[in-house]
């Protein structure tokens, strides 16, 4: 095996453009993701792709002929819109159903066929595996789009639909397809157990079909058939909404990608920091869009509370997973811990671990509460006349603060109790991140439904009573309406909840502190040896005085040779 056999040379016929192009493609192919290359080879030979592709083409041709007859385009009227709607539905099925589900199956089949292990012990990194599968899906999207491109161009020629509308709708279909594909890849990696794979597979196909029907139905009905897109396109709110949806698609797409990557990483790797960075970026993006919309579209203080609800749900959902992480850091993860004072101050909560996760969520949520609560005051101070529509009554501002504060307390309490339960359970058994999420959901269900059932059985009252204090939805809803509807229990709620949150926080302090004290460790001797061998540090030049008349210096200065 060690003998250096001569390899067959890459064909380099220098005659003609195609030979050059072929050589160039071969060279470019060297740098493509191996999974993309393999999947493309497989797809071109697979019956499934051939059948789907042929069906798309066939449907396109059938609709081209049938649509012309049915819509009456043959008599010369502008029927481009109706024709486009048909093509949009035809294209939507492979892009929104086949491609995402195909990506899910492709990755799930790696466990089922015992091929994932061979991939995982190769030099391929988890992000390469996921991006290879994604790349293969993108290629399919391009192929399906190119298959129907002549038909779509044909609708433009039929008149009734303009080019920006076609581009706009196709753009969103591609964005939707990529996001759902990433969700499919994420679901394929979350659990490798066969029964969970079946559950996810059914859920994904149902979700894809629902998404396909809703997306194609709403867009073609609203924007194409009713021809309202021209109205929308001049409305700034429409573009803000587009911006928000695009940010959400990119943000969640990135999150799904990172979750899939984290699930494929070796257990001793740091699986969490990248996810936490993504969560913060999502949060900041939402905050930026929300404030922009709030200031320029609807500067109502009550809107801030709904922003608070979205941000609270975001961090509660993230926290439910993060508190399920194992508290121990592997030696490998500890090699890259921040070392400087500032690094430790700002980056420690980005380290993996349930305690750092708890603190990370509370820190971000606290920042949201502060920003949202301070926003009206800041606006009043900075631009007192900028937004005359804003309701600046101190009464409302106080209610906003109370609402946000109570929301923060609930997240602190539920995540804190969930974390303590998981820590206790880990003494007896293995607790996965998914199980931690289930514990959190159960906890909230018990805290919400329990008092409701108790009240229904033992009390005649149908309104809010103090028994419902653990019911975060009812309590927050009552607080939300407190300005207009009497909420006599509010003083008790604002006393008990912060106190409980403080107690739960204090109960968690010790174990959280243990995680925060983790220090960086050096790489083992063997790793250092190899690193030194692979990347030798440049030897420092021996010090030479510029006054020494050695040979090079003499040449440089043009001094005559001795």
């Amino acid at each position: 095996m060690t003998s250096s056999d001569e390899a067959p040379a890459i064909a380099t016929d220098e005659r003609g453009f195609w030979a050059w192009f072929d050589t160039w493609c071969q060279r470019a192919g060297e740098y493509l993701n191996p999974i993309l290359v393999k999947e493309t080879r497989q797809a071109f030979k697979s019956r499934q792709f051939v059948i789907t592709f042929s069906l798309v083409l066939l449907c396109g041709w059938v609709w081209s002929v049938g649509g012309l007859v049915l819509t009456g385009a043959l008599d010369g009227s502008s029927r481009g819109r109706e024709m486009f709607a048909g093509y949009f539905f035809i294209l939507g099925f492979p892009l929104l159903v086949m491609v995402p589900f195909g990506a899910f199956r492709s990755l799930a089949a790696e466990w089922e066929d015992n091929t994932y292990e061979l991939l995982s012990i190769s030099a391929l990194k988890p992000h390469q595996i996921v991006s290879g599968k994604l790349g293969s899906s993108l290629l399919q999207i391009v192929l399906y789009l190119s298959a129907l491109a002549p038909c779509l161009a044909f609708t433009y020629l039929l008149r009734g639909i303009d080019l920006p509308t076609i581009v706009f709708l196709l753009f969103w279909m591609v964005v939707n397809s990529i996001t759902v594909t990433l969700l499919g890849l994420c679901l394929a990696t979350i659990s490798r157990a066969r029964h969970w794979q079946v559950v996810y597979s059914v859920a994904l196909i149902a979700g894809c079909l629902w998404n396909y029907g809703l997306f194609c139905g709403v867009l073609t009905e609203e924007l194409v058939l009713r021809d309202r897109i021209a109205l929308y396109m001049v409305d700034p709110e429409f573009w803000v909404a587009n911006g928000i949806i695009f940010s959400a698609a990119v943000g969640y797409g990135a999150l799904f990608f990172l979750i899939a990557r984290a699930a494929l990483l070796f257990p001793s790797e740091n699986r969490s920091t990248a996810l936490r960075i993504c969560l913060v970026v999502q949060y900041l993006l939402f905050l930026a869009w929300a404030f922009w919309g709030w200031l320029f579209i609807d500067p109502d203080l009550e809107v801030l509370m709904s922003f608070g609800i979205v941000i609270g749900l975001h961090w509660w959902g993230a926290g439910a997973f993060l508190i399920g992480e194992r508290p121990e850091l592997s030696k490998r993860a500890r090699r890259r811990l921040p070392q400087s004072f500032l690094g430790r101050m700002f980056w420690t909560t980005f380290n993996p671990g349930s305690g750092t996760g708890y603190l990370f969520v509370l820190g971000n949520l606290a920042s949201a509460v502060i920003v949202l609560a301070a926003a009206p005051y800041a606006l009043t101070a900075l631009a007192p006349t900028a937004t005359p529509r804003i309701d600046r009554s101190p009464d409302l501002a106080l209610y906003v603060m109370v609402f946000l504060g109570l929301g923060f307390c609930y997240v602190t309490i539920y995540l804190g109790i969930g974390r303590l339960i998981i820590l206790a359970a880990r003494r007896f058994t293995e607790v996965s991140v998914q199980l931690a999420m289930l514990v959190q959901i159960l906890l909230v269900l018990v805290g919400t439904l329990g008092p409701m059932l108790l009240q229904a059985w033992f009390s005649d009252s149908r309104g809010y009573t103090i028994l419902q204090i653990s019911n975060l939805f009812w309590t927050l809803e009552a607080t939300f309406r407190a300005r207009h509807t009497p909420f006599p229990e509010l003083p008790i709620v604002v006393t008990v909840l912060p106190f409980t949150a403080l107690v739960v926080l204090l109960l968690n302090v010790r174990s959280v502190g243990r995680e925060l004290r983790q220090l960086r460790v050096d790489a083992p001797q063997r790793v250092q040896e190899e690193d030194a061998l692979l990347h030798p540090s440049p030897q420092p030049e021996p010090y030479r005085s510029p006054w020494d008349e050695d040979e090079p210096a003499a040449r440089l200065t043009g001094a005559p040779d001795a």
Partner: protein, 311 residues
């Protein structure tokens, strides 16, 4: 000298089951190490840990000094793992399969083409290059899997039951391939149920049962360390019983068998003591017509060391 493979107090528990329970041994560069044990003994689990497919509950394993837990990426560059059952891809031929894994190991351009060419030549898969994998026989698939294991030319090979399910010819060919790999200085950790084959090709063996390593060393060392490692066969003219009585007075015989005029018994001594015994027999008046000593086979040692317990 740094061992190429090192298990250090390795444990792996699956709930109450202790699949691997405190294994420690080393394999030096260029050695072929046979890993033997009954089904469910913990061979595959410990091999999977070494191949960075699983992590130990306690302890660690090292490949060329790199921890499989803390530096799996560095281990993977040095190690080729052939699992006992492996999956193949649909709609892929032999060349494409090897090409994919060569790319997956970051081999580019001429280097990749050379690796594929070399591997196909070595595993004698050249003629099947364009054949779909699904159409290959079991033996050819095993060869292909070995080819995949060798594609990045790793110095350490971990082969889990490579001969399982192969016909005698394919088995012999596989053994020849492993011999050639060993001759090239590769370190090989191989598990197999065919102990005679392992005894022939291994420099050292480890016997594992219920997650514990029962014996480790060269085949000779293990044989010597077992009580009654030699089987002595004596044929005399006349009755055998007097010889047995004489022997029992002289040396402690625990395991013996009378087969006609032949007495077979276990003996722990070396060659000199066997020669002394023959001389004394003749001097005592026994008419010895045949005297032979046979080393116990690895199979015998295996049967003696293991108890056939499963967990």
């Amino acid at each position: 000298m740094r061992p190429m493979i090192q298990f250090q107090n390795l444990h792996r528990y699956f709930g109450p089951t202790r699949a691997v329970n405190g294994i420690s041994f080393e394999v030096q560069q260029g050695q072929v190490f046979g890993y033997i044990g009954p089904n469910g003994a913990g061979k595959t689990t410990s091999m999977r840990i070494l191949a960075t497919l699983d992590i130990p509950t306690q302890g660690d394993a090292y490949v060329d000094g790199f921890s499989v837990v803390d530096d799996p990426d560095r281990v993977r560059h040095r190690l080729g793992f052939m699992p006992d059952n492996f999956g193949t891809y649909a709609n892929v031929n032999v060349r494409e399969y090897l090409d994919f894994f060569a790319r997956a190991y970051n081999l580019r351009g001429r280097q990749r083409l050379a690796a594929i060419h070399r591997t196909m030549e070595f595993t004698q898969l050249d003629e099947l290059a364009e054949k779909p994998i699904n159409g290959l026989s079991k033996g050819m698939k095993q060869r292909l899997c070995l080819g995949r294991t060798l594609i990045h030319d790793p110095p350490v090979l971990v082969l889990d039951e490579p001969a399982a399910g192969l016909d005698p010819r394919a088995r012999i060919e596989l053994r020849q391939i492993i011999r050639r790999l060993a001759a090239e200085g590769k370190t090989v950790l191989i598990s197999s149920h065919i102990l005679t084959e392992l005894a022939e090709m291994c420099d050292a063996v480890g016997i594992i049962e219920r997650g514990r390593l029962l014996a480790v060393g060269t085949v000779d060392e293990i044989q010597k360390n077992q009580p009654g490692h030699n089987a002595v066969r004596v044929r005399v003219l006349g009755e055998v019983q007097p010889l047995l009585t004489w022997l029992q007075e002289r040396i402690a015989i625990h395991q013996y068998r009378i087969d006609g005029q032949q007495l077979i018994f276990a003996h722990d001594g070396d060659r000199e003591s066997e020669a002394d015994l023959l001389r004394d027999m003749v001097l005592a008046g026994f008419r010895v017509v045949e005297f032979g000593c046979e080393r116990r086979s690895l199979e015998d040692v295996f049967m003696q060391v293991t108890k056939g317990q499963v967990q």
